[in-house]
Amino acid sequence: MSSRRSSQSGTSRITDDQIIELVSKLRQLVPEIRNRRSDKVPASKVLQETCNYIRSLHREVDDLSERLSQLLATIDADSAEASIIRSLIAQ
């Protein structure tokens, strides 16, 4: 097992175990690596895939903002309300 080393700074002693736990938590959230066997995914890969995932989410927000700007004229309060409810049901 890895040694329980602390980081260099004196103020906050972050252990390897804390980092391992947080990285595994991240692993569960990133779709790309969620289904792979955990012992085969090193922390560096998790961080890299997390960055890729965040970037792809940002791109999706950009595309959807573009789409919504084109649809802006068509929205009204009632259909918007219905959409909110629909988004709740469709999880």
């Binding site: 972050i14 989410l57 999706e60 700007s69 309300e81 988004s87």
Partner: protein, 157 residues
């Protein structure tokens, strides 16, 4: 597995975000009835304003509990925008705080640097906070995308 409490939190966050974002969209639609008119706030495109409204709405839904949402609110919030337009870009240099000394763990350095640039407020966090904030940030981002998707799908019918 997500506990019942966490699901309730994520649902209420989703609703808060959706409500706020939709209200911002309606506000935008009412403010510019004529397609060719210039907006008072400057030359941002509609798409850019919608994007900002989306990030802001999610940050508001999360509140000030999280470092990343605080960072978004201070960067994009209305006070920030008024501040920027009054002061101008050049005087922002004086606002930069003293650089916080981060405690790195050996081995995490390279990838953590990229992550810090992607997560709001990430530049001054220690590695543990960075990882925690990242986890929360991506769940909220995923929700934001899903809601925006649903709205876009429903508005185009």
């Amino acid at each position: 597995m997500i506990s019942k409490g966490a699901t309730r939190n994520s649902n209420s966050r989703r609703v808060k975000f959706a409500r706020r974002f939709v209200s911002a969209l309606l506000h935008m639609r009412n403010r510019n009835p004529r397609p060719g008119s210039l907006s008072i706030e400057g030359v941002r495109t509609k798409s850019q304003r919608i994007k900002i409204a989306a990030y802001l709405s999610m940050a508001h839904a999360v509140g000030s509990r999280r470092a990343w949402s605080r960072a978004v609110l201070s960067k994009l919030g209305s006070r920030a925008r008024r501040h920027m337009s009054r002061m101008g870009r050049s005087s922002l240099g004086s606002l930069k705080k003293k650089r916080v000394i981060r405690s790195y763990s050996p081995g995490e350095l390279g990838q953590a640097k990229k992550l810090r640039q992607l997560v709001p407020g990430g530049k001054t966090m220690d590695i543990c906070s960075l990882l925690e904030e990242t986890a929360h940030y991506i769940t909220c981002l995923a929700t934001q995308v899903k809601v925006m998707q649903t709205l876009a799908d429903n508005f185009s019918k």
